[in-house]
């Protein structure tokens, strides 16, 4: 069984400060890891993914994430947050051994960036 945990329901950060959204996972194998963002009344938009190779992955809108196998984490980061980054963020995992490639999503973290 696989699971994803996003330990913070909400993250508050001032504009211009670094932003971190945490994600940890539990899988019985090697994971593929994804981050998505959801703006109000919209569908999910893909930000970035880790498949293999370099542990630091860069994605859209200046976001990056670091895969840490020993800590089973995949935290999302942005060096300088913008008010427009305020949204709901989801971490997702799928297993390399799952031929159907089903995703397991975390519960989501609401990010609030204040001016």
């Amino acid at each position: 069984a696989q699971s994803v945990a996003q330990p913070e329901d909400q993250v508050n950060v001032a504009e211009g400060n670094p932003l971190t959204v945490k994600c940890t996972y539990s899988v019985s194998g090697n994971p593929y890891l994804f981050w998505y963002v959801q703006y109000p009344n919209r569908g999910l938009q893909f930000l970035l993914k880790y498949i293999t190779g370099d542990n630091l992955v860069k994605g859209s809108y200046g976001f990056e994430a670091e895969f840490n196998k020993s800590q089973t984490s995949f935290h999302l980061k942005k060096p300088s947050a913008l008010v427009s980054d305020s949204a709901l963020y989801f971490c997702a995992v799928s297993l390399t051994t799952d031929s159907w490639g089903k995703f397991q999503f975390g519960a989501g973290t609401q990010v609030v960036v204040t001016p």
């Binding site: 993914k49 498949i51 490639g101 995703f103 975390g106 519960a107």
Partner: protein, 113 residues
């Protein structure tokens, strides 16, 4: 490309009524998915399909049915609607499973009263 489209955007159903949520994608993706999103619960997989004529249950399939007669379309059927099915429903598609991202539609907000 329009990507993944869903209709309707909003719907209110009475208990016991039935309806079909429509989903269409124009990316020629083989894999399609239906999720429901409830506050604080993330997204739960209802059904998925890996090609026309091939579907399987996800994590929360009870009360729903699907069919996949074409690559483009993946409708979700709700039979005998219940208040527990009040949710936001998202359809998604991907080129294949596992290592590729899924593309999401804008969602259907359903209320059952």
């Amino acid at each position: 490309n329009a990507g993944v489209t869903q209709t309707p955007k909003f719907r209110i159903l009475k208990i016991g009524q039935s309806m079909t949520l429509q989903c269409t994608q124009d990316m020629n993706h083989n894999y399609m998915y239906w999720y429901r999103q409830d506050p604080g619960m993330g997204l739960k997989l209802i059904y998925y399909s890996v090609g026309a004529g091939i579907t399987d249950k996800g994590e929360v399939p009870n009360g729903y049915n699907v069919s996949r007669s074409t690559t483009e379309d993946f409708p979700l059927r709700l039979e005998l609607a219940a208040p527990s099915q009040t949710s936001v429903y998202f359809c998604a598609s991907s080129e294949r499973g596992g290592s590729v991202e899924q593309y999401f539609g804008p969602g259907t907000r359903l209320t059952v009263t």
